[in-house]
Symmetry: C2
Subunit: 695 residues, 2 copies
């Protein structure tokens, strides 16, 4: 929705943004090595112990772009329905539509393995900033610095993995201010246990998405197995049968994906002017193409459902972000903050080398603007899935020929197993849908780059986008796992010899892609990282490590309190109840997207309507936090985070706790839903008792 | 609440205001002689007949600043609880608190007469513009024109009253563009039949006031009697057991009080700069004083309750109005519209005399600014009630000595009976509360006007405001009806000889008041009326009578449709349900002002929670419309109007139907409330059957 009143939501945020600059009490997605202990003690009289932090860390499950947590000693994992959606879609067929109808395993034998779900659990982490920085010669040309940095990170990952037997990743925090090695235990046998109907998980649909008061049972359960047996996690969280109370301190622990809070003004201006508007336009066109496809019939609608929903969700957020950048005091405030920090850095003799960092980042943005269209419009990721798979196959085979430290980071040794899981997924593929998406993307690329652009020329070869897309996707055999396996196992020669039209097509484009990516890594990413790191370390030198890093998908701790807020001229309550769900449905005469699944409608007389359903808290989150547990002081799950409200859109750029809120399913609602609606008493018992009943 | 997010509500409205200028489909509070028939036919395929209009007119009941309607052949009247509140307060005692506990007459004998409730029903109306205009010599000095206009109106009222035996009032419409005589049948035997607990009538209190979704049972029932028997009204409305459906055409018929839509920019600027900020400050101080008084004990709280609530309600609205005037595109748009109209008028030779009207109104505003503080700060109306009564007594006695046409309009013959009802009310008086209010008002006046101001000097006589207030209110005997009667009946000599300290005080101030009022009438009101009339008639000449007049408390017809709207990024439903009420209460842990009366809480298991409670429609209303019926095409009551939403604040200045809404109690909720909560089956039967059961 892009009405004046949607803009208003953004204005709402902007008004909040104009307020005080210091860190707010509940601000921050803190790495677990640096929790805000002083604030916690002062505001809440609570100090997390090392043991508490370790339990929080090891109970959390990384879903790769989303979050979850262990909730029983038998490897049961709680996350959101919308995190599970991708697997549910892949496991569904026209006959068994788990997305629409839900999935309910009432015994261990009924739990089914996901086609390509991988999860990982953080075991330990260590600061390796010195090691990475020591490898980079700050006087060398940028390309050299980039290679040095890449090599150092790759070597650390390999050494660490060998030493620990874990999946080790070197992550960059504070935009290059710190490097850490994160050591994960990885699992790829993940079983689906329970998911309710999408219509109750996503009740209210796109309109209520990012809204509050909210009434969603956005939950799903998986079980993590090893050797076909449930794992017994080192740490897991008990569920609270009562949920939280108003004002309670809660901790959201999860994997927020990406924020832009520490970016420089030049970076934000590039996003405002170029990147975000273009990405929004591309997604709008893609959504329109997908919706046209969905109109072809119910099976087409079923196939495209998760992509439709994902795009809709993303567009709502992206449009808000763009408006925040364009229309309010946000950039003005950022400019002031930046000027103030630059002034302080310039005055400090220790920081002399950092004073020009902002200018160097700005210069990189200028260079980026020159090739931004190529960078954006040649990017097919998140578009046609078989095409992405083919790109990955071609690149995988080429990259693994190189020494580890010379590869694109996604093909470093530490990532190869995950790549293979994705490439060899058993998930059904829909080349017809991919063709629609690819055709749209090629149309957009030609319009933006011109028919004379080398990539466009190579991609179209004089044909129309629709023809090309149809030809390569009709003709490809990559829908078949064996065909993909044969290509990867065959190696470079097999790829080179392949006549699969999709492989041929990707092969043609690959050199152009590599040129552009090298340019971007050297001229943009490296500058942003090296200079961003200088800025961060200059700030550490001035103020100590009083800030948290921008979100990067790594584990974070976000303390906050359960609290309502004010909107327009009235109060918004801290929680909603089941009565509110039935009210909202009836208030819209049960019309879609406010219709109730039959099971939920029928349960009205059975369940306690005055019990809580959802609640809000001030914990600082962003996309990727979905599925995080909201934990009490004693590490019980009191809620399941699934969204932010409209006023939290601004959290992409700046946190404010006046009206921005994290939205969670109340733990009491999880239990009542399982028992009262779905007859899943066994699962509820496992949650309350902490382990599967003996069989 | 005056938070940034409250400002946002106003911004919300402003965004809407910037849109198209032509009349919107559902815009307008139309006089019944000029309904928007073309729009109704085009948009809704409906044309009201003369008989339909007459039935609508005669079924409506004027509550003097509020609205109601006949809902049975036995004189039963439906209005809002908050319209009844004033009488409920006056009928309550420390022992019988009808405000808190409700009032339920289960038999005719239990219905009790209100102390001073007067209602009237419009019987007929007639355009007398020519007669009034003919009496005014446009070349004469302003004072003469004013006297001529006043005399013509007074004479028309007297003549008409004599001819019809009805209460006849000459009303000014379109800011002087038209004059009409309205002939009313008046009733002063009004019995209280039923009122629920204030807490369910005003559930959500000040926060939810002007909010939606809403959950209020803001209803009350009276019975109009004559000769101690229920009247049998010429027209009355049946109640619809089902209420309306989404999208239904509805007609709100009632008495909207005052809007500023046709005011000139100069008038609005005066309001923005002077009048509204000062009135807000005065009311804020008064509210603070009353709240301090309420803290003295439960009985004090009970006594002041209706004043507290009235002020709170008014301040919320007034602050929004001021922000609309100050901070948005509203005045900019008004300026453009005015410039366009002036241009058209100036080009039309027939309208030459009107071209300078705007300048003359602006000049009057300038003059008004010079004495605005006196005009505002010497005004004690709506403040201490005994003081207002004393002022009325002193003026009444003086005015009725004069010929009818020379009196202040409120003391014309046609208004004397109402004046006597108010002066001789049996309602309990609270001099201690009045003293608190008066002291505050004198403090404000001294601060604004200075201790040397003649009125301040006369009012204080060298003492402090608190001393003066205490002295005259402790000492007065006017709390006693007999004392007031004796003064009025005694006439000028008795007033002159009175040693009652309150009468002495008012007597002292009266000449100063009269000077100021004469000045205001001649230099401001007369100009606004004469020149405003020229503007209106110039517009009629250009466009025909395509506009409705600003609200003036006279009967209006507001067609609209039942419809939800969008807020922030989601949908707001067209109705709420009883489940929503219980949800909202539970969502705030039943904390005040979201607590439920015991009867309502206990009824949850008995009533149908999915039935509607409140709904919204696009009908155009303003303060004074409270208690209006929302009627279906066939004149059944489908709802009871009790509020507008936050987005309708802007309707003071301009109508917009995108998010502004009228809020009503669903007629189905009225019946379910009576039967399911209060055991008032007899009353519900009377509503459904249209008459009291035979006894």
């Amino acid at each position: 929705m892009n009405t004046p009143l949607a803009r208003l939501a953004v204005l709402a945020s902007l008004i909040a943004v104009t307020a005080a600059l210091p860190l707010r009490a509940d601000e921050g997605m803190w790495t677990l090595d640096n929790p805000p202990t002083a604030m916690l003690q002062k505001e809440y009289g609570f100090t997390p112990t090392a043991e508490w932090l370790a339990r929080a860390q090891k109970g959390c499950v990384n879903f790769g772009g989303a979050s979850g947590s262990f909730v029983s000693a038998s490897g049961l994992v709680l996350t959101n329905h919308h995190v599970a959606l991708n697997q549910l879609q892949k496991m569904s067929t026209p006959e068994k539509n788990y997305v629409r109808d839900g999935f309910f395993a009432r015994a261990a034998a009924e739990e089914i393995k996901c086609p390509d779900q991988e999860v990982k659990v953080l075991q330990s982490y260590e600061n390796v900033t010195d090691k990475v920085m020591a490898a980079v010669d700050a006087q060398a040309p940028l390309a050299t610095q980039n290679a040095q940095r890449r090599a150092a990170m790759a070597k650390l990952e390999t050494d660490e993995s060998k030493a620990s037997g874990l999946k080790c990743e070197v992550v960059e925090l504070y935009h290059g201010g710190e490097y850490w090695v994160y050591r994960y235990k990885k699992y790829d046998d993940v079983r689906l246990v329970m998911a309710p109907e999408e219509q109750i998980a996503f009740f209210g649909g796109d309109p209520d998405n990012f809204s509050y008061p909210r009434h969603d049972l956005d939950m799903a359960f998986f079980r993590v197995c090893e050797n076909s047996q449930p794992v017994h996690p080192e740490s897991w969280f008990k569920i609270s049968p009562e949920g939280p109370q108003d004002g309670d301190l809660v901790f959201v622990v999860g994997h927020p994906g990406r924020t832009s809070r520490l970016k420089t003004v030049a970076q934000l201006e590039y996003e405002r002017d170029i990147e975000r508007p273009a990405r929004i336009a591309i997604q709008e066109h893609r959504l329109a193409a997908i919706r046209a496809y969905e109109k072809l019939g119910p099976e087409q609608e079923r196939r495209a459902k998760d992509r439709d929903r994902g795009l809709e969700n993303n567009l709502k957020r992206e449009r808000a972000f763009l408006e925040l950048l364009r229309e309010g005091p946000l950039l003005e405030r950022k400019r002031k903050e930046e000027t103030a920090l630059r002034g302080r850095v310039a005055k400090d003799p220790k920081n002399a080398a950092s004073a020009a960092a902002w200018d160097r980042i700005a210069a990189a943005q200028k260079e980026l603007r020159g090739r931004a269209k190529e960078w954006i419009y040649r990017d097919l990721t998140r578009g046609p899935r078989l095409v992405n798979m083919a790109e990955n196959i071609v690149r995988y085979v080429a990259e693994i020929q190189k020494p580890n430290e010379k590869r694109f980071h996604e093909f470093r040794d530490s990532n190869l197993a995950s790549q293979r899981l994705q490439m060899f997924t058993r998930a059904p593929q829909f080349p017809d849908l991919d063709a629609v998406v690819l055709a749209q993307q090629l149309t957009d690329a030609r319009a933006a780059l011109g028919a004379g652009d080398p990539w466009v020329k190579a991609a179209l070869g004089g044909s129309e986008p629709g023809e090309v897309a149809k030809r390569i996707l009709d003709g490809t055999k990559l829908g078949d796992v064996a065909a993909r396996k044969a290509l990867v196992d065959g190696g470079p020669a097999t790829i080179a010899a392949s006549t699969d039209p999709l492989i041929v097509w990707v092969r043609t484009l690959d050199p152009i892609y590599r040129d552009l990516r090298d340019w971007h890594e050297e001229r943009v990413e490296t500058v942003e990282s090296l200079e961003g790191g200088r800025i961060a370390r200059a700030q550490f030198a001035l103020d100590g490590k009083t800030r948290y890093p921008d979100a990067t998908g790594t584990l974070r701790l976000s303390p906050g309190k359960v609290a309502g807020y004010e909107q327009l001229t009235t109060h918004v309550p801290w929680k909603t109840t089941w009565a509110g769900l039935y009210d909202r449905s009836a208030s819209f005469d049960d019309r879609e997207p406010f219709d109730l699944p039959a099971r939920v409608a029928a349960a009205r007389s059975r369940i306690d309507l005055m019990e809580p359903l959802n609640f809000v808290c001030t914990s600082d989150i962003i996309g990727g936090s979905s599925g995080s547990p909201a934990l009490s002081r004693d590490l019980a799950v009191v809620g399941l985070v699934f969204d932010g409200n409209v006023q939290a859109f601004e959290w992409e750029f700046a946190y404010d706790e006046r009206a921005g809120r994290t939205v969670a399913v109340d733990s009491a609602a999880i239990l009542q839903g399982l028992r009262g609606i779905y007859g899943m008493g066994g699962l509820a018992d496992e949650l309350e008792e902490g382990a599967q009943a003996a069989k």
